[in-house]
């Protein structure tokens, strides 16, 4: 299946959860905001949210300082 990940098309195994994708990309869920189909997903729901063909995913990485 195919999803749009940060604006570009990505091939992905069917049934992959958002948490599994973050793990594959070695992204720390404590440092990223995840928007799935235009809704921001809290970290507790990343593992249970399964991606579907045609989904849009934005993963915004944050760095410290302010």
């Amino acid at each position: 299946m195919e999803i749009t990940f940060n604006g570009t098309l990505h091939e992905l195994e069917a049934g992959t959860s958002i948490q599994e994708l973050l793990d594959q990309l070695r992204l720390d869920c404590l440092q990223v905001v995840v928007e799935h189909n235009h809704n921001i997903i809290p970290r507790q729901r990343l593992a249970e949210t399964v991606l579907n063909n045609g989904d849009t995913l934005e993963v915004i990485h944050f760095v410290g300082g302010g």
Partner: protein, 271 residues
Amino acid sequence: MQITVNEQNHTAPANETAGSVRDRIKADADLVIVNGFPASAEAVLNNGDQVVLIRRGEVPGADELDALLTARHTPGVHEAVKGATIGIAGVGGLGSAIAIALARTGVGHLIIADFDIVEPSNLNRQQYFVDQIGLAKVYALHDTLARINPFVRVTACHLRLTPANIKEVFGHAQVLVEAFDLADQKVMLIETFATRFPDRPIVTGSGMAGFGPANTIRTQRVANNLYLCGDGSTAAAPGTGLMAPRVGVAAHHQANAVLRLLLGKAPEDEA
């Protein structure tokens, strides 16, 4: 024709000038502002003009002060922002500068929240003073904001923001400004607020440490209702400290993003 003088409606003769209206209403004024710009005495007024007469050094009464503070505002902007409530989470380097910019702009109500105390090491970039060391930042900032614009209502919350209290503290905020220091706290705040109030914009900051070029700091729309100001990558780290210039650039990107949202304009770069 009809004009306003110090926010009061006046009927003026057709050939009225900046000088003639001054002589008639406040002869000792030494500055005449017409539609937000200083005008010469000969400048001819037009129907609908907004005139403000100022005497330098005169401390105006409370009634007059509001009108005078708004004299340099672009007409229409003040009306749009004075009814607004903006939440600012964290009042360190980013949040203290953002609050001051929004208070000067005339935003009617600021909700500021932070658990921290003013320390000497904050003064390299945060909008506090030596005589405020040891005070809670939210109370020190409240005092400063009142000195700048006493007509801004400030709700100061001296507490640590958590998923349990964010919805309550910022329940009335129509736009939320994320101005934390730690990345995981930025993420926690955004997740919590966006889940509860998905229709309200969040303006966040990420990547403003060091002394790299100011031009790498940008305002981007990174999600449906999330605007990110910063270079996106330069973390605070040993050897890459937080400093007033770049933190100030990012803070004012955030403040301008809030202003544009309140005026119904897209904060991010025009495509």
